[in-house]
Amino acid sequence: MTPEQAYQTVQQTLYVLAPEILLVAVAIVMMTASPFVKVARKHWCALAAAALAAAVMVLSATRHVDPDVYAASAINDAFSFYVRLFVLLSGFIMLGLAHREPPEGRAAEFFGSFLMLEAGTMLTASSNDLILLFVGLELVSIPTYLWLYLSRRSAATREATTKYFFLSIFASALTLYGMTFLYGAAGTTNLKALGALTASSIPYFPNMSLGILAVVFVMGGLCFRIAAVPLHFYAPDVYQASPLPVTAMLSWVPKVVGSAAMIRVLTAVLASRQMGDPLVHKVVILCWIIAVATMTLGNMVGLLQTDLKRLLAYSSIAHAGYIMVGITAAFAGGEKGIAFYHGVEAVLFYLVAYAFMTLGAFGLIQALQTRDGRPATSIYDLSGAGWSNRIPAFGLTICLLSLLGFPPMAGFLGKFQIFSAAFAAVEGPEAFSLQLLAVIGMLNAAVGAFYYLRIIVLMYLGEPAEPLTAVGGWPVALATATCAVMSILVTIASEPISRACHEAAVASNARPAAAIELPPPGTATAAVAPPAIRVARD
């Protein structure tokens, strides 16, 4: 690589990362300025929203910057563009929900750390390098600790933060440890190069035992982010102890970060291998077990909950299970399986649907408060709300039906895509395990329907409880209305989103022509010196 090329690559990478850089810069300015200037909370919030809007514009402006994928540490393919765009847009919803959450004195830090975790999410989606991806993951984690504790300093939030902090550190360490194996096996941290190496005919790569170690550890760490078994158990406690806007964020941002990281580090790298490959076979078994355990645990324990936040926490675990079904399908299908729904495509669509339904549900529960200003905590607080608070209850019903996976809501199409992807991922006798996975998933969806339905039944058929008042002002109303409307609209007019997800899925698995040419196996042993490995560009 000539210095000119290197310079160009750096320049283009910086262009690609301009939205993230902008967000972090604004966050730093906010946090630095806050002790010296006195600005009202709503202005800090407006500043954060303006930063998000500016980032959207920068993102669109840099749409066509396309650095060399084998050199740059950040890429700008369809996957990174659409995921970042959606994360930014969902940021407005989260800001709307959280606009009154922090106390006046800590608003700058609160919204600043929000911008940082948005930037971290985007960084993860656009990263093409193990190191940058890890930085992205941490740029989400660290502001999350702040978020958990900044808004309300009570014993409960302290406990939740501590719990989340230690487990998150542990999970990050697991991920990092797994990444070292990937690096050790390949000698490069560039993800597309890793994918190209996997696709090549180099013998013994990826090494079976190193490969499985890497996948197990990376997957283990990321399971924490998406709240999947075995690192799910923080979710109910942390959700319950945190204020609702924070819980809403926790149920969405870590999921998208974890899924994006799984796709970038694992499924895209192994995409060229099929079910027949021994490593992929083992990975599919691993994901299969995680998916089944997560779905089943989330739904079964969810049945027993009466606390709204705990219930939604277990629902979030169950949804992590559905996402894992999609990830399993993505591993099994590899680069094929594009004809119907690809696993990655289904996961991305599911995440879009999930964003609207879960943020909407949390936002509406937050908006419904009892007369003494306490938000509804138990499902019985919502009893009869369908008649006393018609519009919020109707919106909540839509979001819950969408979570339940009921047509014509967004959640239905998400589940349809996930299970279709699992069904169509492979052909022949190996398809059976994935089809069984889909059957288990559907049965789970049927079980899970009960606890969502129970809330709807209470709202419309229950005895009227203490009347609730809808609070939060227009930002909450607008955010939740967007969620509820989009939960229906995503199904009715799904074509743009479907197409974006498809392009993103194709892009995540695509590698520019990189043929690592080796002589055929027979002659390779005869050759005295291995021929130079040539990586063709373009």
Binding site: F423, A449, L461
Partner: protein, 547 residues
């Protein structure tokens, strides 16, 4: 016409939105909006019936604006389409839905008292779901409408139902949802099988295309149905899960009596009249047309479920004192006949089953309406305390007797026209099954006569001490007369002019049997190839072992 069909499907939805969104609707305004919406929708349904061409087997009114595949693009990628169309089977159920919606608006004319606008809005919403389902030509669209019908009925039972309404609505919703989700998997499986094994690997969601394509796919395994784990049987069972619950077939019927007893009359009419047909219609469209070999292989199993259901439903109906529960169990019995006719897989059986679906919708709807008229006035349905209604309501008594006779398959009325071909077709396949079903028919006449004897004939018995002044119970209203009268006319029409109905069903049923034949021929070919191969196959196995 395609646009008009889509408009007809969504017309009740527009009415429902108007009912919900217009402020301060009083009872008078909301029920007239509901009545006019359902009447206009029914008029459109009749328009489709009139312009329906009897001899065309392909779905009609289906051409999309681009002239290519049916309907309009919906999900884009993959090409799930918003495709609507009617053939000889669905046209009748489509019109039946239109008619019964008008009837259910009429019977709840005075009944609905609180949240009237919302009540009618849910009825119209249900109508949209049902019309869309019968017209859907795309599997995903079909499924969306299939599940969507649960919501309005769930609220209909849950908000306006009887004392145990909460349990009934939850039970109904969860039970049918669980089955429906498995059906969704079956639908996905069918699409995937078609994509992976059809020549050219076509990914299609169109019901006609799938039906044709599945008979020609190049996958020997598909045509083997000799073990429980063969793909066609497994897919059949997945699809069957949702439809059997919806029908409901014998062991899956437990949600039905509860839902019926608690539902308001209008809900019961649509539930029994149309919603149960969704299951049978799904069986025709998916289980019979797409996995016919499995349906044939499982005939003993299906027939046993049907016969047990017929007799069990009849016996249980005989033991009831609650009139509505009696009619509900009679539905279990009658729907057993429908599935029995379908399972015979012959043109006669399918003809009979389709007409019997319409019959059951009409007669059971009428019986529920009659029971509802009494219940609205006396607030009880117990035949021990209530009876002899002839004395007070002679017109009602006429309709009661008339629809009970129709239900008991009196020649000249509609039930006979449906049950006779079903029994004939069943006899051709398995005389013993037919014998069992005939026992059910005798029992059917028995419990219906008991119902008439106790509720209509004899001295007037009115419940005492429920705080109502019985001397002043509301007389039989014009709206109830209109509702029951329109049903009675159609009941008579089917009874005396069955050819009008059969002539439109026949081509579609024949098309279905042709599909079945095609799969059978493919199966024969596969079997012949397997029979020719064994010598060679064993050699390769031996040589592999030797190696």
């Amino acid at each position: 016409m395609a646009t008009l069909l889509a408009l007809t499907v969504f017309l009740p939805l527009i009415g429902a939105l108007a009912l919900v969104l217009l402020p301060n609707l009083d009872k008078e305004a909301s029920r007239s909006i509901a009545l006019w919406t359902s009447l206009v929708t029914f008029a459109f349904c009749l328009l489709f019936l009139v312009s329906f061409e009897p001899d065309v087997t392909a779905p009609q009114f289906a051409a999309g604006p681009d002239g290519g595949p049916y309907g309009w693009s919906w999900l884009g990628r993959p090409d799930v389409r918003f495709a609507l169309g009617l053939d000889g089977i669905s046209i009748w159920l489509f019109v039946l839905t239109g008619l019964l919606s008008v009837v259910s608006v009429l019977v709840s004319w005075e009944v609905a008292s609180e949240r009237v606008a919302l009540f009618y809005a849910f009825l119209l919403l249900l109508e949209t779901g049902l019309l869309g389902l019968f017209a859907a030509l795309d599997v995903v669209l079909f499924y969306v409408f299939f599940e969507f019908t649960l919501i309005p009925l769930f609220f209909n039972i849950g908000i306006w139902g009887g004392p145990d309404r909460r349990r009934a609505s939850i039970y109904f919703f969860l039970y049918t949802l669980a089955g429906g989700l498995l059906t969704l998997l079956g639908v996905i499986a069918i699409v995937v099988v078609h994509m992976q094994y059809s020549p050219g690997h076509v990914l299609t969601f169109s019901i006609p295309e799938l039906t044709r394509g599945l008979a020609t796919i190049e996958w020997d395994e598909w045509y083997r149905v000799d073990s429980w784990t063969s793909p066609q049987i497994l897919i059949f069972l997945l699809l069957f899960a949702g439809f059997a619950i919806k029908v409901p077939l014998f062991p899956f019927h437990t949600w039905l009596p509860l839902a019926h007893v608690e539902a308001p009359t209008a809900g019961s009419i649509l539930l029994a009249g149309v919603l149960l047909k969704l299951g049978a219609y799904g069986l025709i469209r998916f289980n019979l047309a797409m996995t016919p070999l499995a349906a044939q292989a499982l005939y003993p199993f299906l027939a046993a479920l049907c016969v047990v259901g017929i007799i069990y439903g009849a016996l249980t109906a005989l033991a009831q004192t609650d009139m509505k529960r009696l009619v509900a169990y009679s539905s279990v019995s009658h729907m057993g006949f429908v599935v029995l006719g379908l399972a015979a897989m012959s043109a006669t059986g399918i003809n009979g089953a389709v007409i019997q679906m319409v019959n059951h919708g009409l007669t059971t709807g009428a019986l529920f309406a009659c029971v509802g008229v009494l219940y609205h006035r006396y607030h009880t349905r117990d035949m021990n305390v209530l009876g002899g209604s002839w004395v007070k309501f002679p017109v009602l008594a006429f309709f009661f007797i008339y629809s009970a006779l129709g239900s008991a398959a009196l020649p000249g009325l509609n039930g006979f026209i449906g049950e006779f071909p079903i029994l004939a077709a069943t006899f051709a396949v398995s005389p013993w099954t037919c014998a069992g079903a005939v026992v059910g028919m005798i029992l059917g006449a028995f419990y219906l006569m008991v119902l008439l004897w106790r509720a209509v004939f004899g001295p007037l018995r009115e419940p005492a001490g429920d705080g109502h002044e019985h001397a002043e119970v509301a007389p039989f209203g014009w709206f109830e007369g209109a509702a029951l009268g329109s049903l009675a006319v159609v009941i008579l029409c089917i009874g005396i002019l069955p050819e009008v109905f059969f002539s439109r069903i026949r081509p579609a049923a024949a098309e279905l049997t042709r599909v079945v034949e095609r799969q059978e021929q493919a199966a024969f070919k596969v079997a012949a190839r397997a029979a020719a191969a064994p010598a060679g196959a064993s050699v390769t196995m031996l040589s592999r072992d030797a190696r």
